[in-house]
């Protein structure tokens, strides 16, 4: 719209007309209708306003004739009133609406992973070559027995609380069917099975077709209770109660009616085309005692055979909250940091609420150890684990395993254009439009996920070997293997690590 409502396109399509052969693959592949062939000009032209910079056209252009450039059109430089702040005001002044965003907080907050360095052995303690010596990568999640108990005949009682066995300390975190496509779910489920780990249904219920991956499935029970019924709970290896999400702590969810097609409707057990609204709180949980009741209701419903996970967002009081959860009867606590992704969240909440997962993890692990209840519960963290180095650092800070989701979606083709909320994902991930969903072939997708996790696993073993450590178990909470760089005394104190050089 011209005049006061006008906002110059953020991205411009740079088309090299010398290389463009007008094959129109870009036009055919762009759900945002950026490209079209002009019959009069006899060339491809672009509507830059529609471009979200998802890179689909760039990736498919057979002659490398395309690139997407951030616009150089700029307002007068201002360190306080940055361009996006001004444009957001224009948008809100035009619509009166709440700004929406997707995926994780992209703002310029510190990434503590990048200020932590890993140790290695030299001279006095031998490093280990993981290709020649045995390494242990298996992790068990669940309550650990603190004392050895013996039966009447003196034999050790080996029965433990239910455990999840992970071949790698990496799980795929919750993404609902609805927020992501059927093919994305299938890719995750098949990859989890092939890797000997778990994927998480998110709060959208479990599609009938995926019940066969039950041994590698974590089902979620969230505030909307969508798709929750006894078969659902029993079609899983573990049950996760979702109290919060790192991208939007303190608020619920809203899947617009347009995304509730017949399949999603059946899976969520709600009418087709209606909005799926998850309330901000669970209306039956206002205290740790209430949480205890739900944990035990779910255990009762599943014959005490499955571990129960409680997932919370990393917020200011996370350590105290985690302590409460550790006493609620839950087997595993999952903490989601403020960089964690989402299919849609109010921008202000995504970008301003919650705390970094590194600090939350260190604080929670310390608190649970100080209180002598660390063995009561396993700790899984997520919210932007971007590489195997982040995994190593998380485990050394005290995590039992990590959840990855954004990284998994990136492996499936996501280019972090952060327009999931529009529902027109050109990569077939965050969409329910049949012609777009088709673009993610699970045969390709699952293999890429398997490749990614295998690659990380190799790197984890290499780094552990370098430290002279041959088991994930020996790395866990081993903060002496970490040093900070460029961190304040307070940050080092919270992280429980020394500064480099110390």
């Amino acid at each position: 719209m011209p005049g006061i409502h006008y906002i110059y396109p953020a991205y411009e399509v740079a088309r090299n007309q010398n290389r463009c052969i007008s094959c129109r693959a870009c036009q055919q592949q762009c759900a945002n209708e950026v490209h079209h062939y002009d019959q009069e000009l006899k060339m491809m032209v672009s509507q830059d306003d529609n471009c979200v910079n998802c890179q689909r056209c760039v990736s498919l252009c057979p002659t490398r004739a395309l690139k997407i450039e951030p616009t150089t059109n700029a307002f007068k430089k201002n360190h306080n009133w940055q361009q996006n702040k001004i444009e957001e005001i224009y948008r809100q002044a035009a619509t009166g609406g709440v700004l929406l965003s997707s995926m994780g907080n992209p703002e310029d907050f510190p990434v503590y992973w990048d200020k932590i360095l890993i140790n290695a052995s030299q001279v006095t303690n031998p490093s280990i070559d993981p290709l020649r010596e045995p390494m242990e990568g298996v992790t068990f999640l669940g309550k650990k027995s603190v004392e050895i108990k013996r039966g009447p005949n003196g034999k050790i009682i080996t029965k433990t609380a239910p455990q999840l066995k992970l071949n790698v300390p990496i799980l795929f975190s919750a993404m609902s069917y609805g927020s992501i496509s059927y093919n994305a779910h299938e890719s995750l489920a098949r990859a989890a099975e092939a890797l000997g780990t778990f994927y998480n249904t998110g709060e959208g219920g479990l599609h009938q077709d995926f019940y066969r991956y039950d041994k590698n499935t974590i089902v979620q029970v969230a505030s909307g209770r969508f798709g929750v019924h006894p078969e659902y709970l029993n079609a899983a290896a573990a049950i996760e109660i979702k109290m919060g999400q790192g991208a939007k702590p303190g608020i619920g969810g809203h899947l617009p009616g347009e995304k509730i097609n017949a399949e999603v409707s059946r899976t969520r057990m709600i009418p087709e085309g209606t909005d799926a609204i998850s309330p901000a709180p669970h209306h039956d949980i206002y205290s740790i005692e209430d949480l205890h009741q739900l944990v035990h209701s779910l255990k009762e419903a599943t014959n005490y055979e499955k571990p129960v996970i409680v997932k919370i967002a990393a917020v200011h009081n996370v350590a105290a909250i985690a302590s409460g959860i550790a006493r609620s009867g839950a087997d595993i606590i999952a903490i989601d940091g403020f960089r964690g992704g989402t299919g849609a969240a109010p921008t202000r909440i995504r970008d301003n609420v919650g705390i970094p997962i590194e600090l939350a993890l260190a604080a929670v692990d310390k608190r649970l150890r100080d209180e002598g209840i660390r063995n009561n519960i396993s700790l899984v963290i997520g919210g932007s684990v971007r590489s195997s180095a982040d995994v190593i650092k998380a485990i050394a800070l005290g995590a039992d395993a990590v959840y990855i989701a954004s990284a998994a979606l990136i492996a499936l083709g996501c280019h972090l254009c952060r327009a999931c909320q529009v529902g027109k994902c050109n990569w077939g991930i965050a969409t329910q439009r049949a012609d777009l969903v088709r673009r993610l072939n699970p045969d390709i997708g699952y293999q890429r996920l398997v490749n990614l996790v295998h690659a990380w696993e190799h790197e984890i073993m290499e780094m552990m070997g370098g430290m002279g450590i041959n088991a994930i178990e020996s790395l866990r909470g081993n903060r002496l293997m970490l040093r900070g760089v460029g961190l304040s005394e307070k940050e080092l104190e919270i992280l429980g690590i020394k500064h480099a050089g110390e």
């Binding site: 010398n18 052969i21 129109r24 990736s59 057979p62 002659t63 012609d435 088709r438 390709i444």
Partner: protein, 148 residues
């Protein structure tokens, strides 16, 4: 024998197979698709058919009992080693094969009289260009049981 199979479930209708085919069989500009195909009308041996939200690529099926070969009056079309090939020297351009092919996979050519998919055996090594370039693995080159 390995044949080209298409899976309409994964076909996006992006037509990259058509362009990869045209490039693989281009007479000039082998080193760069832009050079080979810029400002040219392409005449690929594989074609996307679409309608009703479904699309799929059609190219020569290399039938075990090929109609095109039966219809050929000059003996230019041969079925050997699981492949239907055309000997351009023998072809008289009667187009009987084009009439006979139920898939529309034999078509008039720009240079010679007719053209059809030769599984990129004359131009590439190994894997056909349409298969190699398909972004969603909708075109597969594999050995399955005899064509039903």
């Amino acid at each position: 024998m390995k044949r080209i199979y298409v899976d309409e479930k994964w076909c996006l209708g992006c037509r990259l197979c058509e362009y990869n085919c045209a490039f693989a069989n281009a007479t000039s500009g082998r080193d760069d698709m832009a050079k080979a195909l810029k400002d040219r009308e392409i005449n690929p041996r594989i074609r996307i058919e679409e309608g009703g939200g479904i699309s799929f690529a059609v190219s020569c099926r290399h039938c075990d009992d090929p109609f095109c070969q039966k219809a050929c009056i000059s003996g230019a079309l041969k079925f050997e080693n699981g492949q239907v090939t055309i000997d351009q020297e023998k072809c008289v351009g009667c187009y009987s094969c084009i009439m006979a092919c139920p898939f529309g996979a034999v078509m008039p050519s720009d240079g010679t009289a007719v053209q059809k998919c030769d599984l990129c055996m004359q131009n590439h090594q190994g894997i056909p260009a349409c298969v190699e370039g398909c972004p969603n693995r909708a075109i597969i080159f594999e050995d399955r049981e005899a064509f039903a």
